[in-house]
């Protein structure tokens, strides 16, 4: 689940979500992405891109001296896995609690095993 946590942390920052929108349909060089943000320094944008790349949400490609970025759809596939596990864990607790409840009822009626 480490990958999922990375993805969640990565998109918690509004500017990184904005970057994801920018590179959703188009592969863009880092400079073009940085130019989109008037109030963010170039190193800060580079750091955001790095975080997104490490979370698997964007792909980086080098072309000469340029680095190009594009959203990586498969980076989001972890959500399904997460929900899958979420329900596994919750239903496991439900099973224990429902069985405890059932035993309680049985005990109350004197129908003890």
């Amino acid at each position: 689940m480490a990958d999922m946590q990375h993805a969640i942390d990565a998109i918690a920052e509004p500017r990184r979500r904005e970057i994801l929108r920018l590179v959703r349909d188009a592969e863009l060089p880092a400079g073009a992405i940085a130019a989109h943000f008037a109030d963010v320094t170039r190193p800060a944008v580079s750091q955001h891109l790095r975080t997104l790349r490490e979370a698997g949400l964007v792909a980086e490609r080098r072309e000469g001296t340029r680095r190009l970025y594009r959203a990586r759809p498969q980076g989001f596939a972890g959500l399904r896995e997460f929900l899958d596990q979420f329900w596994d864990e919750r239903l496991d607790v439900l099973r224990r609690e429902a069985e405890r409840e059932e035993r309680g009822k049985t005990d109350d009626s004197g129908n003890r095993n």
């Binding site: 969640i8 596939a77 329900w87």
Partner: protein, 151 residues
């Protein structure tokens, strides 16, 4: 071209050594919902009735609280219930009613076979519209809300 494809629902089955009547209450009664799914719950278990649940995100998310606002769609004790699943927080951005959970309880060997189907899940593909994109991102945040429920 981007082709929108519906996602497969998540399907879970679990065998429980308790009668369907007993298990059913764990989906409709507030004091039982808090024993397995959420921190706080308010329920109005009838078609159109609201189910509110407070989920606490794990420590890694600052122990933030998220409020699930569901609506009971179908209630047929003790065998079947359907309810919607979505969150109130604007920061999450997912309107209540955006996904649906269907629970079926069948008697089996003195106990219950529970089947849970969670539909309308986000797609692994990138959505083609901004709205879908926001939705997708928001779903990730919701996943965080449900994450580490015991942390």
């Amino acid at each position: 071209m981007t082709v929108a494809t519906g996602t497969e629902p998540i399907v879970k089955e679990v065998q429980i050594d308790a009668r369907p009547e007993t298990v059913f209450g764990f989906f409709t009664e507030a004091d039982k919902l808090t024993r397995w799914l959420c921190e706080e719950a308010t329920t109005d278990p009838r078609p159109g009735g609201v189910c509110l649940q407070t989920h606490r995100a794990g420590e890694s998310r600052g122990d933030q609280l998220f409020h699930m606002r569901g609506e009971f769609v179908e209630i047929t004790p003790p065998s079947r219930l359907v309810f919607t699943w979505g969150f109130d927080e604007p920061s999450v951005g997912v309107a209540p009613g955006s996904s649906t959970i269907e629970v079926t309880l069948e008697p089996e060997g003195g106990g219950t076979r529970l089947t849970l189907v969670h539909r309308d899940l986000p797609e692994a593909e990138l959505p083609s519209h901004d709205e879908g994109w926001d939705y997708q991102l928001a779903r990730l945040v919701i996943a965080a809300a449900g994450g580490d429920p015991d942390a």
